[in-house]
Symmetry: D2
Subunit: 180 residues, 4 copies
C-alpha cells in the first residue's frame, strides 16, 4: 500500500531489499482502520480520513493502514498504526471482536478484486475503530479530516480515495449502519 | 412494510383488525432477503430486485420481505417469503449462519433510522440469499429484474427504492464485497 | 423470557392482559446483552452474569434481557435494559455495529431451536457490551458475578443457565475470540 | 501449521529454504475451512473433520488448511485447499461473503493467543463451507469423519485437535448457530 498507504517506520525485521524481494513472492498481511467518533448510544457521528500527497503529488484521502510484523498480534498492530497516524492521545477503542468488517485483497494488477496496490499483493483486515481523544497526525504530510457519514458516503469523497479505499470506506459505513 | 413492502397473504394468525391494532402497539418482526446469483467461486454476479407499483401508482423496486409468524423460525419465514415472491423453483440456498447482514429498523416517522414504514414499527433481519433455480414471481404486479452489482450500486437504482431499501441494498452488496 | 428472563417494568404500551393475548399470537422482539470488561487493547477479560431465583426457587444465571417497545430503537432498548439490570453508572459502550453476534429464537416448545421460553415465541438480538463503570443491579434478587472467559466457558456455568442461554453465552464468547 | 496442518505441495513460489527463512521474519497468510453438510433450510447437520497422524505419530483431528500464495485470491486459495483435502468432487459452496467467521492468529510460542504453531507466525482466515458432493481425501494419511454438531461440540473432540483448532471449531459451530 506504498504510495497511497502509510509508510512503515518500524519495518526493522526485514531490510528494504529483503522486503522488496518478499513483496514479489508472498502476500503481505496488513491491517486498516477507519477512525470514527460515536455518540453515547454508539452511533457513528463522524468519520476521520487522512489527507496526504501521493507520489505523483496529487492530494488523496486514505485510512489508517500498515503492515503486521512478525510476532505481532493484530490488535498490537492496529494500535501501533493508529498511534502512528493519529498520535499518542487519540485513545482508540479497539473492538472486542477480532473479526474484520471486510477483508480487502490488494493486487498489483487490476481486475482481480476491487483493490489495487501496484507495489505488492497485500491482504488487509479492516476495522472500524472509535477514538475518544484528540487526533494529532504525527507524520509529514498527514492531516486528519472529520466528516459526517453522509459526506463520507458521497461520490466526491469516493473519487478522492485510491486503490479501492473508497469502496472499503463504504463497506465500513455500511457495517455500522450509516452508509447513505 | 405495507405499501412499499410485500403483502402477506398468510397472516391468518391475526385478523386484519387485530393486526392493525397490534401495529400501533408493538414492533413487528420481519425478514428481508436480497436474492443473488453467484458463480462457482461464490462471487455474487447478479442481484435480483422486485419491481412493483406502490399505492400511489409509482413503479418502485424492492427486495423480498415479509412478516415472521407466531411459531415460525426465521429460516422457515425466509423460505416462505422467498417462495411467495420468487416462485416455487427458485431454489434459494439459505445461509448456514443465522446472523443477518443488517438489522433494519423501520419506523412510522422519519429521522429515527434510515428506514421508514408509514404503517408500523417493523424490525427486519436482512439476508443475502443465493438462488440457483428459475425465479417466477407469483404475485400480481411483481416482476424480478436481474442486474450487475455495479448497476445495483448506482444512484439511479437507489432512487427507485422506497423506505430506505436503497440503503439496505447497498449494505447487502457491501456485505458480500461487491458494492461499487 | 418470563421466569428466567428479566421482568419489564415499563410495559405500559400494553396492559398485562393484552400482552398475554399477544404472546399467543405474535413473536415478540427482545434484546439481550452480555456485559464484559475489556483491557486497553479491547480483549475481553471478564464476563458479567446475573444471578437470580427462577419461579421454582432455583438459583440460575442469566444475561441482560428485555423486550423492545413500540417506537424504541434497538440501541435505546439495549441501553434501557442494561441500566435496569446493571444500574445507572455501569456506563455501557454500545457497539458501533447494529449487527448482533447471534439471533436467538425462543419457542414455547422445545426442539425448534436451542432456545426455550415456555411463555412465548421471542426473537432476541444478542450483543456483547463492554461496561466501564460500576455495576449495581437495581432489581430484587439480582446479583452480578464477574468471571473469567475460561470460567464462563465451563460446563458448570453452562448448566446453571436456562432456556438455552448457556449456548448463547458460548456464542458470545466465541464472537469475541475468548471461548475456551 | 506444520505438523498438525496440511502440507502444501504447490509452494513453488518459494524454495523450501526461502520459505524457512521467511517463516522467521514475516507472518504468513493462511485460509482454513470447516466443511459442513446442510439441510434444505441451510441448517448445519454434520461437520467434517480430517484425521491424520502428527509428526509424533499421534492421531489428531484437524480442518482444511493451507497457505495463500502470491497472486492468489482468498477464494481461489480456499477452493484449492478444499480440493486438495476433500478431493475433486466435494463441490464446496464458497460463501458469498468474504468475511471470515474467525481470524486465528497462530504464534510459535504459547500465550499470545489461543492458537499455536511451533513452525511459524501464521494468520488464518477461517470459513465454514458447505459441501454438496462426495469427499475423498486425496493425500496420504488423511481421512474425513462426519459427525453431528453435538459430537463436534464435545470435550472429547476438542481434546483431539491441536494448536487451538478445537477452539476454532467451536467458534465455527457458534457462527452457524449449532454449538452445543
Amino acid at each position: 500500500m506504498a504510495g497511497v498507504g502509510t509508510p512503515d517506520p518500524n519495518s526493522s525485521w526485514l531490510s528494504d531489499e529483503e522486503l522488496a524481494e518478499v513483496r514479489r513472492r508472498l502476500p503481505l498481511l496488513y491491517v486498516e482502520a477507519v477512525p470514527v467518533r460515536v455518540d453515547g448510544m454508539g452511533v457513528v457521528t463522524s468519520v476521520g480520513l487522512l489527507l496526504r500527497a501521493n507520489p505523483q503529488g496529487a492530494i488523496t484521502r486514505t485510512v489508517v493502514s500498515g503492515r503486521v510484523m512478525f510476532g505481532e498480534t493484530i490488535r498490537d498492530s492496529l494500535f501501533r498504526h493508529l498511534e502512528k497516524d493519529l498520535g499518542p492521545i487519540a485513545f482508540p477503542q479497539l473492538p472486542a471482536s477480532p473479526i474484520p468488517f471486510q477483508v480487502a485483497e490488494y493486487f498489483p494488477i487490476p481486475g482481480l478484486s476491487p483493490y489495487l496496490d501496484e507495489r505488492q499483493h497485500a491482504v488487509s483486515l479492516a476495522y472500524v475503530v472509535p477514538v475518544t481523544g484528540t487526533c494529532e497526525p504525527r507524520q509529514d504530510a498527514l492531516e486528519l479530516t472529520w466528516m459526517t457519514p453522509a459526506e463520507a458516503s458521497s461520490n466526491a469523497v469516493h473519487a478522492e480515495m485510491e486503490g479501492g479505499r473508497g469502496t472499503l470506506l463504504r463497506a465500513a459505513l455500511a457495517s455500522v449502519g450509516v452508509l447513505g
